[in-house]
Each structure stands twice: as C-alpha cells, then as structure tokens.
C-alpha cells in the first residue's frame, strides 16, 4: 500500500465577474491526475508555472478541497475523515516552502517557531519542549543556542534548516517540499539537499519534491511526474524519465535544462510559443500546439496515460500496451 494515493484528482477554480459574481470561466488547474507516494520515498513534480504543481501540493496539504477525485492516506480516503481524523492527517503531512524569509515569523524566536507545532498539538511540559527543540535543532545541524535568536540573525540556508526542523517537529510521514532550495545561494543548495536526503534515510519520511530545477528533482526523487497544463504527461522512475524522456514535452523540458559542460546538449529542442492559458486549454492533447511531432489525431483526442518503456506516457506517438 502506498503512503498516499491520488486518484483522478481534479481542481477547477471558477472565474467570477461582476457584482453578481456570475461565473464566466473555469480554470482547470489540476485535471484528473493520479499518482502515488510510497513510504520513505520521494515523488518529484516538475513542470512550468501554471502547470498545476502548486495546486496539487495544496490539495495534498488539504488547503484546498478537490473538485473531484480521491486522496487516500494510508489507505483511507480524506473525504471520510472527521475533525480528529483531519487533525491527525495534518500532523502527518507537513510542508517546507520556497522562501524562508517569508515562511518564518520575524518576531518569534527560533525556539518558539520550532516548538509551536508541539505546543499546539501535544502540550508538552516546559522541560520536555526544551528537549524536543534541542533534538530538532541538532537534527538539522544548527547550534543549540539558535533557539534564543530571531530569524533575521540567520542566513537563507540556516533559515531553511529552521523551516525543516519545524516541519519535522511532529514526526510527519510526508513532507511537501515546494521549491525548497530555489531561493538559496548556489553554494548552500547542496547542503540543504544533502540534509533532506539524510533526514529521509534516518526518519523514513516521504517527500513530495516540487521544483523547476530538473537536475535537483532527478537527484532527489525516486519517481518523477511531469505536469503540463493540469495534466500528468509522463510518470515513471526518476532515472528513466530523466535519462530517456518519452513524452515530447518532457524531452523538450530536459533538453532545455542546461548542461554543465560547454558544448554539451547541442541537440536541444526549442519549443515554439508559450504555455496556453489553463482557462481555455487546447483541445485533444494540451501540448499539441507546441509539439514538434503533432499529428491530426492530437488536436482531436486526448491521449491517455498508458504504459510505455517502463513508465506511463500520455502521447499518441506511443500506441500503448
């Protein structure tokens, strides 16, 4: 059984105009996607802005309720949870966001920031709380005296360590990492990625890793899901998807990822045009207006996510199994 399983997950946002709030359109932010996150593993979610990766993470964090579809956590559907059930769920699923300058309260001391989830959920004694906070600080390799300092006294990388310590305070089973290193200096990113990987080893926590940095996603993930305009277009083992992408969009995306050797990656695919508006996605395959291999069928029929070379691909180029 997977830790978390999403089936036909859908989120539509109505667009309303005027005083009466008449609905004039529908943003299909996430449109019937299915995926699973295994215990102790990382699912990487990649795609460009507007593809629905952040909406997906908000659905998992239960900040938004899905329009349709089911999320199962340890086998039970989220919809069936009562208050206590949701409380338990929210303790089990935590998040680390992109900008540690925005996600930490500047007026709280680090000890209080890290201890807050504990205080709210477990009401530990003062001495127990102190001990737990010290253990968490040690876990993310911050000195014990950090507890008495304010966030502004830390650099970006250290702040992200504080955010990670807070996320781990309640021993969650899943942590949503939404661009956790994008706001950090290049020389600090490897530190944080190593820390996250080390924590996964030691604590057995699962990650949903969202990033536009494809190399970082490939490095961190066991499975990668590639999203385009609210759809998953390719889903499979990280090494396979990164090395031999099958969907034309994944191919273009990974060819646009810059090589670290001069002269490498000369066979890059440059896509024409931009991502269309999710208010009015193209018919058939949503990628067809930009696809170098588009056929007649692509504008007409929406491709289904079918097995192809050991992963799932939604593309008419592959007849499927």
């Amino acid at each position: 059984m997977s830790l978390l399983e999403a089936t036909d997950l859908t989120k539509h946002f109505p667009v309303r105009r005027g005083v009466l709030g008449r609905q004039v359109g529908l943003v299909r932010a996430v449109d019937s996607i299915s995926f699973a996150i295994e215990a102790g593993q990382t699912l990487g979610l990649v795609g460009e802005s507007g593809c629905g990766k952040t909406t997906t993470s908000r659905l998992i964090l239960r900040v938004e309720a899905p329009t349709d579809g089911v999320i199962r956590f340890e086998g039970s559907a989220l919809d069936g949870f009562d208050r206590d059930g949701l409380r338990w769920y929210r303790r089990s699923v935590q998040a680390v966001f992109q900008d540690p300058y925005a996600s930490l309260d500047p007026r709280m001391r680090v000890g209080a920031i890290i201890g807050e989830p504990l205080v709210i959920n477990e009401r530990p004694s003062a001495s127990a709380l102190r001990e737990r906070v010290s253990a968490l600080l040690e876990l993310v390799s911050l000195p014990a005296r950090s507890r008495d300092l304010f966030p502004h006294e830390f650099s970006g990388g250290q702040r992200q360590r504080i955010a990670i310590a807070r996320a781990l305070a309640l021993s969650p089973k899943l942590v949503v990492l939404d661009e956790p290193v994008s706001a950090l200096d290049v020389s600090i990113r490897a530190q944080i990625l190593n820390l996250l990987r080390d924590l996964q080893r030691r604590l057995g926590v699962s990650y949903l890793f969202i990033s536009h940095d494809l190399a970082a996603v490939a490095h961190m993930s066991h499975t990668i899901a590639v999203m385009y305009l609210g759809k998953i277009v390719e889903l499979g083992a990280a090494a396979e998807v990164a090395r031999r992408p099958k969907h034309p969009y994944t191919q273009a995306l990974f060819s646009a990822a810059l090589p670290l050797r001069p002269g490498a990656g000369t066979d890059e695919i440059i896509l024409a045009g931009e991502v269309p508006s999710p208010l009015d996605p193209p018919s058939g395959c949503r990628f067809h207006p930009r696809c170098p291999y588009a056929m007649e069928q692509c504008a007409r029929d929406e491709p289904r996510l079918l097995p192809e070379s050991g992963r799932l691909v939604a593309c008419h180029l592959y007849p499927g199994a």
């Binding site: 490939a218 090395r243 090589p259 991502v275």
Partner: protein, 324 residues
C-alpha cells in the same frame, strides 16, 4: 586580436551600509571584445551586479561610491564623464537587461511608445520611419504580429514576451555592449531556452560585446566564451569557459561546479560547500573564501592571495597556484 569594447581595470566600489563600509567591488579587472560573451558568475552579494551598475555609473548613490579604477568603453574613460555625457552613453552604447522585465517597462505606457523612445532618442527617427523601425525591432525579437502589439500594455504580455520587449529596447541603438543581469531567472525553462537563443542571435547579428551576469553555471556553459567567478567583491578565477569547466583552479569554482546536481549522473551525496556565504561587513583577513575552503592553509588566513596564472589565459586568486 581586436581592441576590447569594454575594459575594466581595478574597479573599486565602496558601499556605506548600516553595518559599516564594505568593498562591494574590490579591484575587479576584465575586458570583453566585440562579439564576445563574458559570464560574470557569483552568489548574491558577490558584487557581480554592483560591478555592472558601476560600469554604467548607476550604482545607488550616495550609498555607493566608485573609489578607484578605470572603465574604458572603446578606449574612452567612463568614470570621469559628466552625468549628461553618461546619459548619452546609456542605452546608446551600453544597454542593460534586468532580471524582472516589469522593472524596465513602464506600466502606463504602451509597448509601442516604449520601443519608439530609444529609437527616437538614439537614432533620431520620427514619424512613419520610427513606427516602421519599431515594428521591425519587435519582429526581430520574435514577437508575433508586432504591428498589433504596439498598442499593448506590459501587463497584457507574458513574462517571456515582456523580456523580449526589453530586449528590443536594449538593441534599438544598437549598443556596443549589452549587459544582461540574470535576464532569464524569472522565466520558465522552455521560455528561458528561447530567450537565450534570441540573445545569442542578437549578439551575432550586431557583433555585441556581452556581459552575462548569472548564478547559473549551466547558462555560462551554454552561451559564454569566457567566465569570471566572483566571491566577496573579487574575481577569484577567470578564463575561457572550457578551461574553467574542465580544470577549475580555484577551490571555490571547483566546489561550485561539483555541488550542482547533474542530469544523467547518479551520485548519493552532493559535494556541499561548508559554512555560510561571507558577511561583507566582517570579512576575515586574507582570502575571503578561506573559512569555507577545505584546502585552506595558514597563509590563506593571513594574506589575501594576488592573481596567479593558472593556465593559458586563466587566472586564479589562490595561494595553491603560487609559483614555487
């Protein structure tokens, strides 16, 4: 070899901040020839943007002051020019593209007006010739149906389109030197690929000298001819891209290259650079990177290393390269 378009010699820009006076740019020297691209690489606070602003004499005053050095544009000293003369140089001879296109575009003027402005100013065009040229310019940066776009306002365009408009304005003159300060950081990957190709095309067409400021080593590998790596206000290593990526001399460059995850390579752990970015207001004596350097020696903590030759056209500010 042709004379360089831009030659920066021993540039020093000092910043007065709440935390004390810092040397934001500390003795930076480089030159860029016609048709050549120099990648200026570094983390936030390394002085790469301040270097570019100093070239244009746009470093924020009164906090920033250029206290030494020389900036030669086609042999002409820019640091002694009057503000009036500088205004004629900016946009005409040296153009700049910034990270956020909305900070370069005025939200209340149409694209057409903003593209016409540099054409009227630097090329002296007017009337129908001006509009024709503006349309040509928008077409040359890959904007579809450019004539129709003249009436559009910046907020009606996507991020990639806005950055293209900024690119069109930058090459209106066309300039001798184009400074691109992280122009693709706010763009999506596939749009970034489009934009990098566009910049390269524009450069080839107009034989521009280009300074490309970035923290993304992948971009450097892709579009730059030479690279200068900055750390704490100094260029710590400089040389041809192939040499620096193939055999980095300075430990900072080497660690930076090793710390980035690479596609198609599976490594358990990334090489991390220990410690935190330097605090410019409290730099250690000696080499600024020494506290984080795994190869630091006693000498590194005492004396700042001068520039050593590390290979053909490659220099490094590291005692490891000191001749025996």
């Amino acid at each position: 070899m042709t004379a360089p378009v831009i030659e920066v010699r021993d540039l020093q820009t000092r910043l007065v901040t709440r935390w004390g006076t810092i040397e934001a740019v500390d003795g930076v020297s480089f030159s860029v020839a016609e048709g050549e691209t120099l990648g200026l690489v570094g983390e936030s606070g390394s002085g790469k943007s301040m270097t570019c602003l100093s070239i244009l004499r746009l470093a924020p005053r009164p906090a920033a002051r250029i206290v030494g050095g020389s900036v030669l544009l086609d042999g002409e000293e820019l640091l002694t020019k009057s503000e009036r003369e500088m205004q004629r140089i900016r946009g005409k001879k040296v153009a700049m593209i910034l990270q956020d296109p909305m900070s370069s575009l005025n939200p209340v003027f149409s694209v057409g007006m903003q593209v016409r402005e540099p054409l009227a100013l630097h090329r002296g065009l007017s009337g129908r010739r001006l509009t024709e040229r503006a349309i040509e310019l928008l077409a040359s940066v890959g904007i579809a149906s450019p004539a129709a776009r003249l009436g559009a306002f910046p907020h009606q365009l996507s991020g990639g389109m806005r950055q293209r408009v900024v690119g069109a304005m930058a090459i209106a003159a066309p300039p001798r030197l184009l400074i691109a300060d992280e122009p693709t950081t706010s763009l999506d990957l596939t749009i970034q690929a489009q934009y990098l190709r566009l910049l390269k095309d524009l450069q080839t067409r107009h034989r521009l000298a280009m300074i490309f400021v970035t923290h993304n080593l992948g971009i450097v590998a892709k579009i730059c001819d030479r690279v200068a790596v900055m750390y704490a206000g100094r260029i710590v290593e400089a040389g041809p891209v192939a040499a620096i990526f193939g055999a980095p001399a300075h430990p900072y460059t080497r660690l930076l290259l090793e710390s980035v995850p690479k596609l198609g390579e599976t490594t358990e752990w990334l090489t991390a650079i220990e410690g935190q970015p330097p605090d410019l207001a409290a730099l250690p004596p000696g080499c600024a990177f020494a506290p984080r350097c795994p190869q630091a020696m006693d000498r590194c903590r005492a004396d700042a290393p001068p520039e050593f030759v590390a290979g053909p056209a490659q220099t490094s500010r590291c005692w490891l390269q000191a001749p025996p």
